[in-house]
């Protein structure tokens, strides 16, 4: 996790039995009276790849925001790796976020910086030395298969490639937890599928992944632990199949 180690941890077994995310009776009400989450309880274990599924407005994004502390619950407890986030001081939030990789539908890339600089920037601002940052940048870009696009600007890349840059950026600090908010939302089916295989590979390296999506197709093919939300309420939960084979491409 620290120092010169750019290697990812060898996989812990999926369904390790140790919770990394716990929501206990969590409600989130945005003023004046918009209920984004209503009494949601769930547990994600270390090493899992899990989905939060539901139509738009179901509360998926709000749930993820609670986890990287972009917002706080109105009620209930949010626990990430044993840390009760409601007791987190504002000054601790950056350190939580360094351990959580996040990607979004709109990538959030800096358009005036190259692919390499985008990744370097995210390491630089958390105080990683230049040499170490360069090493990690090359490693994660190789991992997402963009090592030859280091000097391209985001606008020169396709949507799928841009999303892979944002994944590389999120992975650069080797986070144990990876959150993805509709990462395939802007991508066609083939590209989405490639992206999902990339996420799968990252998960197999030991990173816990929680992904919000409204794409039922993906969820059905992957047969992972899935939590279904609708209008802020948990309306179903499917436990993933243990020791699953990689799903067929189409």
């Amino acid at each position: 996790m620290s120092g010169g180690n750019t290697r990812f941890r060898v996989s812990e077994l999926p369904r390790s039995g140790i919770p990394i995310i716990e929501l206990q009776n969590v409600s989130k009400i945005y003023p004046p009276k918009i209920v984004a989450l209503d009494n949601v309880t769930l547990t994600i274990e270390k090493g899992e790849m899990a989905f939060i599924m539901g139509p738009s407005g179901a509360g998926k994004s709000t749930l993820l925001k609670l986890l990287y502390r972009a917002t706080a619950p109105t009620q209930g407890r949010v626990i990430v790796d044993g840390h009760d986030l409601s007791r987190l001081r504002q000054s601790q939030v950056p350190y939580l976020r360094r351990s959580i990789g996040t990607v979004f539908q709109d990538y959030k890339l800096l358009q005036r910086r190259t692919v390499g600089e985008n990744v370097l920037f995210s390491l630089e601002v958390i105080g990683v030395s230049d040499r170490e940052a360069r090493k990690r940048m090359r490693y994660v870009l190789e991992l997402v298969g963009l090592e030859d696009k280091v000097n391209c600007f985001p606008e020169e890349l396709s949507g799928g490639e841009q999303q892979r840059v944002s994944i590389a950026r999120a992975l650069a600090n080797n986070p144990p937890l990876f959150l993805a908010d509709e990462p395939t939302g802007n991508l066609d089916w083939t590209t989405s599928w490639e992206l999902m295989m990339l996420l799968k590979r990252i998960n197999e390296n030991g990173t816990t992944i929680l992904m919000a999506t409204h794409n039922e197709e993906i969820v059905r093919k992957f047969k992972c632990h899935t939590i279904m939300l609708d209008q802020g309420r948990k309306v179903g939960e499917i436990n993933g199949e243990d020791d699953q084979a990689p799903p067929p491409p189409f």
Binding site: M1, S2, I18, I20, K46, Y68, A70, T71, V80, D81, G82, H83, L88, Q90, S91, Q92, V93, P94, Y95, L96, R97, R98, S99, I100, T102, K108, L110, Q111, F121, S122, V125, I126, G127, R169, A170, N173, P176, L177
Partner: protein
Amino acid sequence: MEKMIRLRRRHFEGVSFHLTKKALVEAWLNIRRNGAFSIACIVVAGISLLIFGIFLLLDGSLNNLVHSFEERVGISAYLKPTVTPSEAAWLQSRIITWPEVDIVKYVSSEEAMQALKADLAGFEDVLATLPTNPLPASLEIKPKNPSQTLSIVSQLRNLPQVDDVQYDQGTVSKLIAFANYFRILGLIVSLLFVFSTWFLFSSSIRMTVYARKTEIEVMKLVGATSSYIRYPFITEGIFYGFTGALIACLLLIPMQSILVASLNRLAFLAHIAPNQQFLFWVMVLLLALGSLLGALAANTSIRRFLVE
């Protein structure tokens, strides 16, 4: 099992040389990107601080003037002719114990006559025609604070040994009133300029913040500390304020010379011009005020983006 997520810093990330350098480089880029707006910030800060500086210099002069008048304020209590010098001495020792009184001086009628002769130098002959010395002995009293003059006067009037009391309160109280008005007016004008400076600083820094919105968003997302995000903007604010103050200081030096020269032309006002030391402290104050203004304006502009 050991936690994977640690909520502590793993290495020193405080105000290091590295971060300071980074903040300076970033701030400089922002300032250059803002172009004409940056120059406007510095100019307005310069004008505002210069006006405040001039006000402080004039206020300093006025203060000196008031003090020099206060030095001269005195109450004359003329004693009845029947009061003997020893009685007067006793009275003097009593009045000096009054809390408002600073100095009491006994002037005998002979001394008063000497003083009058000195004043009428060349016309002493007029006085020689007088059969007796008509001038009464008096006690010259200086209050600790000119505002207490009236209270001393009314106490003196109650003394049986005192015939008449004369005092010169008018000039000083008028001068003090004028100084107070001037001070209030000066502060209001300075405050207006400070507000416009604040407004311009905030606008300029908010422009920078908007231009870097995505960057700030990403920084927050990947876990940059809020001070790391803040430093470049605060540095930018301090740069505007300090540079503006520097310009104000450079312009203030000739202003001070002009002020001293014009006061020196009126001999009796020569001593009221503020000295070099006063000017030095005004300049220090302007530099500190400019930097502080810049830092605070930047901090308030960026804070909205940092807390959710």
